[in-house]
Symmetry: C2
Subunit: 601 residues, 2 copies
């Protein structure tokens, strides 16, 4: 049995039919591209995933990196795969042609790299981190910094990390204590300890470029005193060759439940007097620069969660098609042959749920990628600003919904396999472990929910919120043109009305009542908003599928589109109605959590 | 930081205040017991758990058993712990005094053994299996079989297993193919392959007693042709000494995501001509005997899931009390000190949810144990029959609700710890892996749901269903005597009305419509019934807590009871209302899963 890594047909549906990636080729930045070049990039990534990642994923999982005090040891297959990804130009497929990139739209790059993530999310994660790091320096660094650090990262000579958390400052970055002191050369000496640094040390690349948050001595307390520094593992000479070892040391590796291909490290900066660091932008503005990378990383996390859900879906689907077991309730004769388990209604439910979660989540993430394209390349400044606004607003949902429902999907994949799903002969238990990180890193679900309710909803006079509602209203209006979709349009409209009422009550409470109480159920609000947004993604997919069916496509396409409509139906019947219970709770400004006395636990 | 394995105060609340275990001492079987002897048994188990299981749980997790083709190798700490459990009389604490047992009520035995399970569920699992195996032979075996197999299992000389699943017959036992042929001595020769046999081979005990389902040659097809056999690893002479090796071989070990202390094995019976087996009871009635063990195992699974949820709760609670991070939304000053994370409303929500899931689930499981006591020792036959009926009816919920919500609780424990929850420095990621088996083994959630809706609800003219409703109505009536509980009584009553309407619609559909359609959402029905039953358990706890508070207890007890009331409030506000969405779906006889065409996936 070889289950596909992803459903190629669905990926093409998403980028070409749902989001019209081909339309982007009329924009100057993408004018050298066409459907063929997009497909070729996806083909390349798919072939690479199948050759270098898929066959080794269990080995990588079962042999997590070790550290003997000197060197990190990991399966050789990881370096081979990383080199192949770099060689194929897939570290920074969206970068400019002149920087060695393919200048691909983000939505196509996401689809292509989706194969790498689905087949080996943590190995592919090295490239993703390097790319996000390079993008930050590209946006906020000097020309010299770009030349020195960005170009080598784009081609895989150097790797990149993001060094924020400290033992006493994880979610609460305001309290970070790593310090930086200006030296005579105008550089800085960085001292402190960082933890949870993915890819913090390894020998996969010549050098590692850490982007480090630290406080310049004398800086204000809190988030307004944080600066951002480039701190390389090896200093780099002006000709680009490696100089001496910088004062940053691996203090240890964490042993994670999943995602084991990627080292998670504790790093010590400045044990021998100070690690040389180079300021990015201005002092004390580091956190805002880091958000450039963090927002990108948040979309990456959501996408990775969606893809891990989908590859688990494909695997369990394949299994269900081939595994005979039991009979339907209507078949009482023990002499009748057992059916394949895909015939059982409850197995169909578990597969439909995975499909609805995974494809709904991926649609949202790819819409995020499309908005990233638009904020960069849409024709008018107004369109670019609107795209930025909407992406910014939706980021908490893009990060969180897939991260919360991805593990649920993987749990259902396990359940479809039964006992076989619980053992390492099959990868679904690994997907379940891998995916569990996603609600934690790059801002936990709790952090995302506060970001949404306390910052993103009110920001710019609620412009982001209104933009999201307007976009959803457009989809509903479009759906009303198709009789088959009327009831779904109504249901989404009702859900949005519920969302609006809930939002108004919460904003009222934030102004008039105890702010700690008003924000105390922010996670339920994020859940509500997330389910509405995913229902929106399903209605969007339903519109395309229904229109395509009207054109009487050939049989395999007909099946495909009917599957889309049925997964939409599943989501609207089984998942969307749950928001009513959450809305009632939220609208009452429920104080259960807020009022819990800690001595009562 | 040493988090308690379990909250002893809560355990005592459950068995003494909620379920009145002391009241059992008026019954002849328990007349030698009193509160002191019950407490002593719990003390023993707690001390043993803390000495032999807790310190080794990570080692056991990280060094799963290996098989070199000859012998199973596992950490020595497992045998030391198993021997200590046997030595302390905790394999069969409910067995008769004359069989070496402590003749403890099941509810007290469950509480005591709860410490073993919470501190090391898979190591404790060996004892649980032996006990359930011995209980089956006690109930259905001959006197000679009891002497030969039961007594040595009760004291830990022999271990027991349950050998049902085969490579092509897991959930679908009707298709099992292992055969048994009568030999000249009147015994049987058993031939076939079994998989997923927990504890199927090891050197922890002198001998292993497999209870094997097989077909006698010529038996009818399906479940009506299945017989049950005792097939030991070593034959046993009449004086109880070990005889020759039987023809059962370890074919291999499975490598599980969690629960790694307990071997999960593939066994070959009869590779050299046939393993000697001894028939239990009559031919072709094996499945009904096995259900004796399976029902006990199902309650064990639910209990284990609840306890794993609770030990994760204790761990994350302890962590949340000691980990400073961030500030409340109302505290803007970066110079203010960070608070311990237990102060954050969302962390309180995650702890409350764990408490509500774990304690709600454990109350249900202990009610199951109380019913097991009652079916054995209640004064009148009518009471014994009623207890048996209710326990039988509730078993799908007792097995499933804790198994589904236990992993949710453990996921929240991970989330409370953040990144620390994802690494093996802390045990919460292990709990999450361990607990994920519970919705699978001893009948998956899907199997339980069909058992509930197609068998347990209609059985005996709906007598079990009516008994459950009547018991819930009693609790509601009692709650109405306490003003503080009125709204909860109303909400549970409304939920039961919803459950009733749903049940009627489904039974109607089962009679009048396609049975495959009518049963297609059985899992949602089980979810609905489960949430109602757990709300019932919370109202029961609320009644006791509210009455205790009225007596103005000392401060720590006051805090404890207020915590109970607040967890009840959490369950009624956050969890119970979700049933309305499920009920609407079920009452419409939704055909989404049923109608999904397999070609549309």
């Amino acid at each position: 049995m070889v289950a596909p890594v992803l459903d190629r047909r669905d990926l093409e549906f998403m980028i070409y039919e749902l989001f019209d990636a081909e339309g982007l080729t009329t924009r100057p930045r993408y004018e050298d591209h066409n459907r063929e070049s997009f497909d070729a990039a996806i083909d390349t990534a798919k072939a690479l995933a199948e050759k270098y990642l898929l066959p080794n994923r269990l080995k990588v999982d079962q042999n997590q990196p070790t550290f003997d005090g000197v060197k990190v040891d990991m399966p050789a297959e990881i370096k081979i795969a990383c080199d192949a990804i770099a060689e194929a130009g897939l570290i920074s497929p969206s970068a400019d042609f002149e920087s060695g990139g393919m200048q691909l739209p983000a939505i196509v790059a996401s689809a292509a790299c989706g194969y790498l993530t689905a087949a080996g999310s943590t190995v592919a994660g090295y490239a993703g981190l390097s790319n996000a790091n390079a993008n930050l320096i590209d946006a906020h660094g000097t020309e010299e910094q770009k030349r020195k650090w960005v170009d080598p990262m784009r081609v895989g000579r150097f790797a990149g990390t993001m060094a924020m958390s400290e033992p006493n400052a994880g979610s609460g970055l305001a309290d970070l204590t790593t310090t930086a002191e200006k030296n005579e050369q105008g550089d800085y000496l960085v001292t402190g300890n960082k933890i949870w640094i993915s890819g913090g040390d390894h020998d996969l690349n010549e050098n590692i470029v850490h982007l480090v948050l630290a406080r310049v001595k004398g800086a204000p307390k809190g988030v307004k005193g944080i600066s951002l520094f480039i701190v390389p593992k090896f200093l780099v000479n002006d000709d680009g060759s490696l100089g001496e070892r910088n004062d940053v040391q691996l203090a240890g590796l964490f042993h994670k439940m999943g995602g084991r291909g990627q080292t998670s490290t504790a790093l010590s900066f400045g044990e021998k007097g100070g690690a040389v660091g180079y300021l990015v932008g201005e002092e004390n503005k580091g956190l805002s620069y880091m958000f450039h990378m963090m927002n990108e990383a948040r979309v990456m996390v959501g996408t990775s969660a969606a893809l891990t859900a989908l590859t688990g879906y494909q695997y369990s689907l394949d299994y269900a098609k081939e595994r005979p077991q039991g009979r339907l309730p209507s078949a009482k004769d023990p002499n009748s042959a057992p059916v394949n388990i895909i015939e059982h209604a409850d197995v169909k439910r578990m597969l439909l749920a995975q499909k609805a979660y995974g494809e709904g989540a991926l649609a949202l993430c790819l819409m995020g990628a499309q908005l990233a394209d638009d904020e960069k390349t849409a024709e008018t400044e107004e369109e670019r600003k609107q795209a930025h606004l909407l992406l910014d607003f939706l980021t908490p949902m893009i990060k969180t919904w897939p991260s919360e429902y991805g593990p649920k999907a993987n749990s259902l994949a396990i359940q479809v396999l039964g006992g076989s799903g619980y053992v390492n002969e099959h990868p679904v238990e690994m997907f379940y472990r891998d995916n569990r990180l996603n609600p934690i890193h790059e801002g936990t679900t709790g952090i995302q929910s506060i970001d949404l309710l306390a910052r993103k909803v009110p920001m710019k006079n609620m412009a982001g919120y209104q933009a999201a509602l307007a976009a959803m209203a457009d989809t509903i209006a479009q759906a009303r043109g198709d009789e088959a979709l009327l009831s779904y349009a109504d249901e989404l409209e009702a859900a949005i009305a519920t969302l609006k009422t809930t939002t108004e009550k919460l904003l009222g409470a934030m102004m008039e009542q105890d702010i700690d109480l008003a924000l105390s159920n922010s996670v339920k609000y994020l859940e509500l908003f997330g389910n509405v947004v995913i229902a929106w993604m399903w209605l969007k997919q339903g519109i395309v599928a229904s229109a395509a069916l009207a054109k009487q496509p050939h049989e395999s396409d007909e099946n495909f589109y009917r599957g889309k409509l049925h997964a939409m139906r599943y989501f609207f019947k089984f998942e969307l109605p749950e928001i009513n219970a959450w809305a009632a709770l939220l609208q009452s400004i429920d104080s259960t959590s807020h009022e819990m006395n800690i001595n009562w636990f």
